[in-house]
């Protein structure tokens, strides 16, 4: 059924279709409307689940873990400072291999205090052991709510998934969205079954400590199973296409990259405008492409290296900065993924959209123009450019 929904409303529709048995959530802008929508669904009886009104984000995720340990499918949602407040629990949830799905409404971090969208919240937590995926639009957000459970609960993976939805740009923006039929969703997503749960016949210990002798094995398998998620994502997307009709392209979404000289890598809702500008450049004779990263954990290393191996210059446009580091987290990820696979292309990092600032068409044009100069041998590779702030000076070296 086609509906006109905000990103949060769309996501809530996806969660309803996934039939979580326990929801625990604490409100924070701009996540609030998703938990409000879910509360209404529970109240009207269209979603049968236990809804825990917890007193903090820390408790939200902690309760989700407790519920998951009983074998229940669980959902929570947060944003920004809330995500950081529950950060301690992120490693518990992933190390405990609880396949919790969490929506994170991407929002700036304090200080200065700011409620608008950027991606510093989730990107600062890439190493907390969660699968991280970024939606580009409301349809993808809804579909990811369903697909995230299928990936998380696959026994080859058994890891929590954080579905990132750009604050306001998506969460509060209305789009026409196709909501799958419940029957199709049920066919796609069977009930959760796991051995990672309490057992009253043969009791278990869950979430114990493991000292130096054993600890490394847990981290090894956590890493290994996260890498295995790549295959599972592809299988899940194929099944989703078969049951719900929409096809998704795996860990990355490459647009006109095959023969591209200039590729702009980005993630989330900024990809749309980047593709528009690429089309514009193509029309003018410049071979431009856009590589949208969907999953940042696991890192789409092979896809990045393959897509970027033949380009003249690559740019990474992100709503993040790693203070004192090598640009933003996405830039570092792209460079390392390429270097590890023997690919070294001239690259620039474009920082934009911080604290909810628009990433404008003109800014994206600036990015491509900068890449074009770099490809022509002008300017230094590796620069970190704050769009609209130091782009005229050429950025930081």
């Amino acid at each position: 059924m086609r509906k006109f929904l905000s990103g949060n409303e769309a996501f809530a529709e996806g969660v309803r279709l996934a039939r979580p048995q326990v929801i625990s959530a604490y409100p924070i802008t701009p996540q609030t409307t998703v938990v409000e929508a879910l509360a209404s669904m529970v109240e009207e009886g269209s979603l049968a689940c236990e809804y825990l009104h917890v007193e903090s984000e820390h408790a939200a995720l902690a309760a989700a873990m407790g519920a998951s340990a009983t074998g229940a499918r669980t959902f929570t949602a947060t944003s920004s400072q809330g995500l950081l407040y529950m950060a301690e629990c992120l490693t518990y949830a992933s190390g405990g291999r609880f396949p919790i799905v969490m929506m994170n409404a991407n929002r700036a971090l304090a200080l200065p205090w700011n409620i608008y969208g950027d991606q510093r919240d989730s990107l600062s937590l890439l190493d907390h052991g969660w699968i991280q995926v970024y939606a580009e639009n409301n349809q993808e957000a809804l579909d990811l709510a369903l697909m995230a459970y299928a990936v998380a609960e696959d026994e080859r993976v058994s890891l929590p998934v954080m579905v990132n939805v750009d604050g306001f740009a998506l969460t509060h923006t209305y789009e026409s969205v196709e909501v799958p039929e419940a029957q199709a969703a049920d066919a796609f997503l069977p009930p959760y079954a796991t051995a990672n749960r309490f057992d009253f016949e043969r009791p278990v210990s869950i979430g114990y400590s493991a000292g130096p002798e054993f600890n490394g094995h847990y981290q090894y398998w956590h890493h290994r199973d996260m890498l295995a998620a790549e295959t599972v994502v592809e299988e899940v997307e194929a099944r989703f296409a078969a049951t719900c009709g929409r096809r998704y392209p795996g860990l990355v979404d490459a647009y006109r990259c095959e023969d591209a000289d200039l590729v702009l890598v980005t993630l989330g809702s900024a990809a749309g405008i980047a593709r528009d500008v690429a089309d514009e450049l193509r029309a003018a004779g410049t071979r431009a492409g856009v590589l949208r990263i969907r999953y940042l954990r696991p890192v789409p290393g092979r896809q990045l290296a393959e897509a970027l191996a033949g380009v003249a210059a690559v740019g990474v446009l992100e709503k993040d900065i790693s203070f004192g580091g090598d640009g933003g987290a996405v830039f570092s990820t792209v460079l390392v993924a390429c270097a590890r696979r023997g690919v070294a292309r001239p690259a620039l990092n474009f920082i934009g959209g911080l604290g909810g600032a628009d990433i404008s068409r003109d800014q994206v044009r600036v990015c491509f123009a900068d890449l074009e100069r770099l490809a022509a041998g002008q300017g230094e590779a590796g620069r970190v450019v704050f769009l609209g702030i130091d782009d005229e000076e050429g950025g930081l070296r």
Binding site: Q21, S24, E50, V54, E55, H58, G66, S205, Y208
Partner: protein, 305 residues
């Protein structure tokens, strides 16, 4: 049927753990689990009992048990109960029970505890109080008593130990209108077990604050643990009480009861002097401890007796 030494199960559900010899907290966990039986599901935050209870592959819990983030005991309990409720598959005698220390309850875990009581989730929360952060090496918590030397309130020439009184955790919990709350001491074991049974059979949120002496942190020989746990009650420095919420008691605001209200207390000095942590306290400190005790008892007797 009231649980006693003769009819209590032969099963041990907390066994082979690495708690220090004479650990009061270990006795709490052991006995509570024996009362609750094999279908209890336990949650324990980072702290003594989780550190000694499950260090893979030495897993000392015979029932289902789970570790929680330090601040999240009550939240994990709520999640467990919600998960079981959503699936409807747990045995009828399944008690969801948390064991957290004084710091894990009265300090870092207080917010989560308050939330669980507010929601009236059907869980039992046991705070085993050894009066400091013992697992990390005897640092002051919100339940460390005045005058006790800890590694972060070291006794010296200037100060003789902790400068603050114990938080009134029981009152804080009761102020929520919780269905059932109690205080206890492992020194009065049958009283404690009776309260555990009572709590087990009440629905909604329940809380027991039980004094659990720590030989290492308090500085007394391990064999004296039960003695000390008795004496802290006999001196009036701890009290045995119950609170029943409005629904259970039928009294608006709920009803308190003092289970022991002696005419005279044992002198505090022998109790304090037998413990290393009070060694530096002088006459004035002892007088302050006694005065605080008397004030507390005046308060309780006026309202609860």
């Amino acid at each position: 049927m009231t649980v006693n030494a003769r009819n209590i199960t032969d099963e041990e559900f907390f066994y082979g753990h690495k708690a220090c010899p004479g650990c009061g907290g270990a006795l709490v966990v052991r006995q509570v689990l024996k009362v609750l039986g094999p279908h209890a599901v336990s949650a324990l935050p980072a702290g003594c009992m989780s550190a000694v209870g499950f260090n893979f592959p030495q897993l000392a819990f015979g029932n289902n048990a789970m570790i929680t983030p330090f601040a999240a005991t009550a939240a994990v309990l709520s999640g467990i109960r919600a998960g079981l409720a959503a699936q409807g598959t747990a045995p009828d005698d399944c008690t969801v029970v948390g064991f957290a220390g004084d710091g894990g309850t009265a300090d870092i875990g207080l917010q989560a505890l308050s939330g669980a009581i507010d929601r009236n989730d059907d869980v039992l929360y046991i705070c085993y109080d050894n009066e400091a952060y013992m697992n990390t090496g005897i640092q002051k918590s919100g339940l460390t008593p005045f005058g006790a030397s800890t590694t972060t309130t070291p006794a010296g020439a200037r100060e003789h130990g902790c400068l603050t009184q114990k938080k009134s955790l029981f009152d804080i919990v009761a102020a929520h209108g919780i269905p059932y709350a109690a205080t206890a001491s492992v020194g009065y074991l049958s009283d404690f077990l009776k309260k555990v049974e009572r709590a087990r059979d009440v629905r909604g949120c329940r809380f027991i604050h039980v004094m659990a002496p720590c030989p290492v942190g308090w500085g007394f020989p391990s064999e004296d643990m039960v003695d000390v746990a008795k004496e802290v009650v006999d001196t009036g420095l701890w009290y045995l009480a119950e609170y029943e919420g409005p629904a259970l008691s039928g009294v608006p605001g709920g009803a308190f009861r003092l289970n022991r209200n002696p005419k005279a207390f044992k002198p505090i000095e022998p109790y304090l002097r037998r413990q290393g942590r009070f060694r530096a306290d002088d006459e004035a400190d002892l007088a302050a401890i006694e005065a605080a005790r008397d004030e507390r008892w005046a308060y309780m007797r006026e309202r609860w007796a």
